[in-house]
Amino acid sequence: MTALNPAKLRNHTLISCLILFIVLLPWIPLGHSSNYLLRILTTAILYMILALGLNIVPGFTGLLDLGYVGFYGIGAYTSALLTIHYDLSLWVILPLAALNGALWGVLLGLPTLRLTGDYFAIVTFGFSELVVLVLRNELWLTRGPMGLPGIPAPSIFGHTLVHEWEFYYLILFLLLIVLFAVTRLEDSRLGRAWFAIREDEIAAQCCGINLIRYKVTAFAISASIGAMGGAFYARWFLFIHPDMFKFWESILILCLIVFGGMGSIAGTMLGALILIPLSEILRIVLPQELFNARYLVYGFILVLMMRLRPEGLIPFERSRAAKALKTKKRIGSATGKEAV
């Protein structure tokens, strides 16, 4: 454990959010950006949301969750079906999808979170496969492999979203909400309990933390964020299909987190912002016949990361150290002198 040099530490979350939300993201649609670019960025931000949601389970609580995409799928189908059959507004659907995700998160979590480590990962993997199987086979509900086409686009205050930039701002807004929620949760009693469980389950228990309860909470919140992402996805892409929610997606989202730094919010977002557009960049850069091998590059990047910077771009420990420093300053200024 190396001592961290305080001078080098900055609050990454704050800085990266500032950069993202003031400097970078809002202005993109205003120039002559093509729909193509906007679509890629919307995807990237969608994955940022998904990664932020997943981050709660393996990042904060330390449980390997391979079934995250199941909740994403549940959210997408909830949203699509509610739209098609009941024509509900997006603002009703988003919380409903989140609730449905949380419900399934609790239902899956309550019995399985007693498992530890690999066993839990296997169960979640099974869950994601199960979701795909149900989506594929329950024709009466999901139309199975035919997919669900013709989902109406959302409308906001009577205005139907058509342009790419409108969706872009919508997802940016959603990202803000999720980010707001996640940062607040991280910096609370709940977040501390999660971190404690991640660091040492037995010590956490002996500090009075009810393991099952906090694990299930983490799982439910993560699932609801995933489902929200799915709900947006269905209303944006306007077509969903069981194959979109295959196990591979879970691994991709997990990659974003590992790449960015497990447990750190800024790292998670950065990971998504780099890796998702990378796929498109590779589409341009790689020759036609090699295009399908682009995920090899992902694998290569991950191997390099494991070799050079195993804790990710913005490591968890650094972000905690920065937070501690912030607290120190706050307390120091509150008492009128440097506390330490």
Partner: protein, 393 residues
């Protein structure tokens, strides 16, 4: 002096290996009680039994007169209770709701009656499994019974009406939806019971390491178990967990209550750190602390939950004489604050200075107890540590 911790006839066996055998031990409030014994004598196992990390095979542990023994059978009973509630929940709310949403065109059919009967059967089975009269369980079983009786009645009266409830005049929605709406508060109540702490007292004392901490026993570990990637302050704040109340909503909305709690926790955590002499390091990462400091941080974290009794597992292990003298002072200071201490220690010097009473464990059995002086001269103790020849002379 009132009795704080009382252990009666405690045994713990791992398969064929008996780690603890018929342990009787008492801690009075304000005492420092020591446990010594050679390696592998079962000292840490005893701590794990007290903090509910292990389930004792036999015997009872009482804390302030309340039994806190973790039992497998008790867990089973709790599971049966939960299952009962789950089925009530399903039966009361979701089956009719499901029916009326997915099959709105059909009348309340015979199958519904069968489903009700099935749930009722499980209910009765589970309620008998409880082996104890509990009014809510029996009451709701009665509700189910009544429900099925009504169905049976209608079915017998109108056998030709396609098994529907009241001829064909009243569709299922008419029954299903109000039924579900009426059932919702019940369901909410049961979910609340399943999830929420105060009502959970219905189950009696819920045993588990976290409940033990809540009850007022906290501990440190022989091999240091800190949250190494969190700051020192956050470690202690985690110790405050049981004294805070913020939940998910509070954290999201950052209510005034939550903010005040956080500030309080921070202040108290700094106090705790000052108490063990670590306030200079409050904003370092716990993993970056020196070994002795990590031990003290563990104690600070244990103190944060405001325990009545603190269990220290070799607090002075691996320390030099100066550090262990500091540790002795610290433990005396803890006692001055009205917290009783149960301590495992190998360093005899520390132990003789500290303990009011000492229990000696050897191969899972209590071989001696008494004041430090008595222990020092007890031949059985000398034998356990040094062998028979020494005890003779």
């Amino acid at each position: 002096m009132d009795l704080l911790l009382k252990i009666k006839g405690l045994s713990k066996a791992f398969g064929g290996l008996t780690a603890l055998q018929d342990i009787n031990l008492q801690v009075e409030s304000g005492d420092i009680v020591g446990i010594i014994g050679p390696n592998g004598a079962g000292k840490t196992t005893l701590f794990n039994c007290i903090t509910s990390l292990y389930h004792p095979s036999e015997g009872e542990i009482q804390f302030q007169g309340i039994p806190i023994t973790a039992r497998k059978s008790k867990k089973k009973e709790a599971l049966i209770r939960r299952l009962t509630m789950l089925f009530f929940f399903l039966g009361l709310c979701w089956v009719p709701l499901f029916w009326s949403v997915f099959l709105p065109q059909t009348d309340y059919p015979f199958e519904m009656f069968l489903v009700g009967l099935f749930i009722l059967a499980i209910q009765v089975f589970l309620v008998i499994g409880l082996r104890k009269f509990e009014i809510w369980a029996w009451g709701l079983t009665l509700v189910f019974l009544l429900n099925d009786l009504i169905f049976a009645f209608w079915w017998l009266k109108y056998p030709h009406e396609n098994m529907s409830l009241i001829g064909t005049e009243i569709p299922a929605n008419f029954l299903g939806i109000p039924w579900s709406i009426a059932a919702l508060p019940f369901s909410a109540y049961f979910l609340w019971q399943l999830l929420h702490k105060p009502v959970r007292r219905l189950f009696g004392f819920r045993v588990g390491p976290d409940a033990i901490c809540r009850a007022g026993i906290s501990r440190t570990f022989q091999n240091i178990r800190l949250f190494f990637n969190l700051s020192v302050l956050d470690n202690v704040k985690t110790g405050f967990h049981v004294r805070l109340k913020t939940g998910v909503l509070g954290a999201l909305l950052r209510t005034r209550f939550q903010r005040e709690e956080e500030i309080l926790a921070e202040k108290e955590a700094l106090n705790c750190l000052r108490f063990v002499g670590l306030e200079q390091k409050a904003f370092h990462m716990a993993g970056a602390l020196a070994y002795g400091e990590q031990r003290r941080l563990e104690i600070a974290r244990a103190l944060a939950s405001e325990p009545r009794l603190i269990l220290l597992d070799e607090p002075a292990a691996g320390m030099n004489p100066k550090e262990s003298a500091h540790m002795t002072e610290l433990i005396l200071k803890i006692r001055e604050n009205g917290i009783s201490v149960l301590i495992i220690e190998h360093d005899m010097k520390v132990m003789m200075n500290l303990a009011d009473r000492i229990y000696v464990l050897d191969y899972g059995k209590l071989i001696s107890e008494g004041s430090p002086e008595e222990i020092r001269s007890d031949p059985k103790v000398i034998e356990a540590y040094l062998g028979k020849a020494h005890a003779a002379c």
